[in-house]
């Protein structure tokens, strides 16, 4: 982006961006912009420069400075009260989400923030959640002061409508950990208490001690069966009620039988029971669940429009500016929107130059010019000066909000048997069959005692817990490996749905194209070096993304200074160079007529004569052709775009003939297309999209991936979030996911070997607790090792990190 490349790149001491020629300095420090410099000055004033010694360039760029009254809405008590946790009139507690937090410098600075603003009594960072918990003195400072202090040092809290409409505290799941702790404790102690009995035979131990041991074992097993294992019983009960044989049903049955038989043995004095094996299996299954259900603390999958919208917006009433909460906006209110602010409701432009960036909605980052009287849809972001808008529809009625709330989109996916549940079903039938055969055999032999023995021990030894463990550990490890490759899945069921996928539908803008880099094509007179320099000389003054793109394209090292220039915001630059009048900017500004309305154009005229046009469009991601080539062999592919068909030929060449290309698709068309694929072609669809206009399609598809450009991006609700840079390795990821099923089957096969050994004893009615106590942990540990090793190996095979 830097037109003035010198031999050594000068990096901003605050954020590490390259500095342009117009850099600012402070002492021996160099900064890319005034924002970064002012952050440094604040920190320097308060002796907080340790910030810069902990990490190199710890800051984030401050090019977007904040407006003075931006946080005035926090003075509204109603709004402030919804944000704070607790206040006693002296001190107030608040938790703020700071997406900029990324290194130990941030941590250090945020916990020393009381030096910048002494009214902040304490601050504590939760780095994983990117949250800071603060206590401040209400008598001295307001919430607005605290938020402004944070913003001034470069950490602007993310405050959204969601924070004030939904409850604050996200409860983290600690119950699972309590259960594991308790089950582990009971398991270890029961095991220890059982050992003397196993190794010494019943004679060597005094009967009293033996009795004491069994009572203790029984006491320790009670919390396991009643508290730790209760989720298995609850799930099983839900399954039975809805006539759906999930994997928890046979597990709950096995647990009950094991416990019942153990009680019987202990009360009749015939044995010590299988309580050690039982608590062991509960312990391992709980670990498996936690491994699989790990959550990403900074990622939310169920975002709705509320987390995109600001809390309050400026409304003009009788020529006075007021902050009004977004959900109290009325029709015909006049909004005042500043640079970089989001438009929260469908509104008509009444004053000012609007350049709207709809990247939230469509993924297209190139701003669109809106003329007076035209409608701006909610979700657009204003770039440039202040504009005034007349609200046409309330927030809850707007086009975007309707998209979220439409009944169509709410269709829940019907429950279907997952692959492991199907396996467990057959497994259970087989085990029940074996038990019946063995039972009938011993009954006919007249050995009722052995019959009961065989019946119960078969069910004890062959419960499908091994299968549950195999799938939990495989899925858990795959989720972990995928997240390392920046694909974050909502839960383990998504892995299974992905493995069934046969059709992949891509959105174009923002998904297949890059938002950051732009493609520039030039048409017109041949550009001489002289001409290039002259155009650069004008464009260097403009911060508009189009100007930046053209500057990068021209790639001029040393830019001459223009003699005289004038910037018309959002339109272009004009100026005198070598006594010629130049105009560079939009077609309307330069007076050039263009019939091609696709993409964005920058026109150049000299003395009113057109020289040429730069056509700027988003560039396609690298490696796209390769990706489509390798995906084609396994999947049906389609690209669906809201744009017009101008890039049809280019895309056809890039992707190949078999790929279906659809243009001019509205959000509703996209949804309809997905439903068509699912119903008429019986396809299992993976939809990949980024903007809110894909939200419906993402939800309707079997699996929806939202694309994000950086980890803090806000994405629509989806089953998975994939980092933009990883789209090019989608084929490897899909192959890896499909290998998961094989891993589960293989490790389950291994566990069946253990099961057969156990069944060998069980059908004869001679399965002793010792054998069960040896088989159970060895089968569990081999499953954990095999699933871990294989999923790691597969990841290496498909060249994932």
């Amino acid at each position: 982006m830097n037109p003035n490349k010198t031999n050594t790149l000068i990096l901003c001491d605050h954020c590490g961006d390259t500095c342009s020629r117009a850099q600012t300095t402070f002492g021996d420090k160099v900064f890319c912009c005034e924002g970064c410099k002012s952050v440094f000055q604040i920190l320097n004033n308060y002796h907080l420069c340790t910030y810069y010694t902990l990490n190199d360039h710890p800051g984030k760029t401050q090019k977007n400075t904040f407006r003075k009254d931006k946080f005035s809405f926090l003075d509204d008590e109603e709004i402030a009260r919804k944000l704070i946790h607790f206040s006693d009139g002296q001190q107030t507690n608040i938790t703020l989400y700071l997406p900029q937090m990324h290194c130990s410098s941030c941590l250090w600075l945020l916990e020393n923030i009381h030096r910048v603003n002494p009214n902040i009594i304490s601050s504590r960072v939760n780095f994983r959640k990117k949250e800071v918990f603060m206590t401040f003195d209400v008598t001295q400072a307001s919430l607005r002061d605290v938020v402004e202090t944070l913003t001034r040092i470069g950490y602007e809290p993310h405050l959204s409508l969601e924070d004030v409409t939904t409850s604050q505290l996200r409860k983290s799941d600690k119950k699972g950990w309590y259960k594991i702790g308790l089950a582990g404790f009971c398991f270890a102690n029961i095991m220890m208490l059982s050992l003397p009995d196993y190794f010494s035979g019943s004679q060597a131990i005094e009967p009293i001690i033996r009795k004491a041991f069994t009572i203790l074992i029984l006491a320790l097993s009670l919390p396991v069966i009643t508290y730790c294992a209760n989720e298995f019983f609850v799930n099983a009960w839900h399954g039975i009620k809805s006539k759906y044989l999930n994997i928890d049903v046979p597990i709950a049955l096995a647990l009950l039988i094991t416990f019942g038989r153990s009680i019987y043995e202990i009360s009749t004095g015939t044995g010590t029971g299988y309580l050690d094996s039982m608590s062991g299996i509960v312990f391992f299954m709980l670990i498996g669940r936690v491994v699989q259900d790990r959550t990403y603390q900074t990622i939310t999958f169920d975002r709705d429009f509320k987390s995109f919208f600001p809390i309050a917006v400026n409304v003009l009433k009788n020529n006075l500016v007021q902050s009004v909460p977004v959900n109290e906006l009325k029709k015909n209110d006049i909004l005042q929107i500043h640079h970089q602010e989001l438009i929260p409701a469908d509104a008509m432009l009444s004053k000012g130059n609007a350049e709207i960036d709809y990247s939230f909605v469509t993924g297209e980052s190139m701003p669109v010019t809106i003329h007076k009287g035209e409608i701006i849809y909610a979700g657009g972001k204003q770039i440039g000066g202040v504009i005034e808008l007349l609200v046409v529809k309330e927030v809850s009625q707007s086009y975007l909000t309707n998209l979220w709330n439409k009944e169509n989109y709410k269709t829940e996916k019907p429950p279907s048997y997952t692959f492991t549940e199907l396996l467990s079903k057959y497994f259970t039938y087989i085990v029940l069959g074996i038990a019946t055969v063995a039972g009938v055999y011993w009954f006919q032999q007249g050995q009722t005692h052995l019959m009961w023995n065989a019946l119960t021990t078969i069910l004890i030894v062959a419960c499908p817990c091994a299968l549950l463990l195999a799938s939990n550990f495989t899925n858990g490890n795959m989720l972990r490996l995928l997240s390392r490759n920046k694909l974050y899945l909502k839960n383990a069921d998504v892995i299974e749905s992905l493995a069934k996928t046969d059709t992949i539908v891509f959105d174009k803008t923002g998904t297949l194209t890059q938002t950051a880099t732009m493609n520039v094509r030039y048409e017109g007179q041949i550009l001489s070096d002289q001409l290039k320099k002259q155009i650069s000389a004008l464009l260097v003054h403009s911060n508009h993304p189009l100007s930046r793109a053209v500057l990068t394209y021209l790639d001029i090292q040393v830019v001459p200074l223009s003699e005289n220039h004038k910037i018309i915001e959002n339109k272009g630059v004009e100026g005198w160079l070598n006594e010629c009048h130049f105009k560079v900017g939009s077609p309307a500004f330069t007076g050039v007529n263009i019939d091609d309305i696709n993409g964005s154009q920058v026109c150049v005229t000299r003395e009113g004569q057109m020289i040429g046009i730069f056509k700027v469009s988003n560039a396609y991601r690298l490696g796209l052709s390769n990706l489509f080539r390798s995906l084609k062999s396994k999947f049906k592919l389609a690209i669906i775009s809201g744009d017009n068909a101008s890039e049809y030929d280019l895309l056809k060449i890039k992707t190949g003939l078999e790929v279906e290309l659809l243009f001019d698709q509205s959000p509703h068309d996209k949804l309809a297309y997905i439903n068509y694929l699912k119903e008429n072609r019986k396809a299992k669809v993976l939809m990949i999209g980024d903007g809110l206009n894909d939200a419906g399609a993402l939800k309707a598809s079997d699996v929806g991936f939202a694309v994000c450009d950086d980890d803090n991006n806000f994405t629509p609700a989806a089953d998975g979030i994939i980092h933009a840079s990883k789209i090019s390795i989608l084929d490897q990821i899909m192959r890896y996911i499909q290998s998961g099923k094989r891993i589960i089957i293989f490790s389950f096969g291994i566990s069946i070997v253990y099961n057969i050994i156990g069944l060998y004893f069980a059908v004869q009615g001679t399965l002793s607790p010792v054998i069960a106590a040896i088989l159970m942990p060895s089968s569990t540990i081999s499953i954990i090792l095999i699933t871990y090793g294989l999923s790691q190996l597969m990841a290496r095979k498909y060249k994932l990190n």
Partner: protein, 58 residues
């Protein structure tokens, strides 16, 4: 033999102590953020103090 019963109770008490410590830790949120505490202990406290000390020396 009764010494075994005593040992048994002692071992139960010790492991029970660990269980309580674990539950306490979970409740306190010790396992929620595994990055911040590790970094926090590396920070020098009070840069201001150092500056003041240096001034005193001068």
């Amino acid at each position: 033999m009764s010494v075994i019963v005593l040992l048994l109770l002692v071992s139960l008490a010790i492991s029970g102590g660990f269980l309580i410590a674990f539950i306490w830790g979970v409740k306190d949120g010790q396992f929620e953020d595994n990055y911040a505490p590790a970094q926090r202990m590396l920070f020098e406290d009070g840069e201001e103090n150092n500056i003041e000390k240096q001034k005193e020396i001068k």
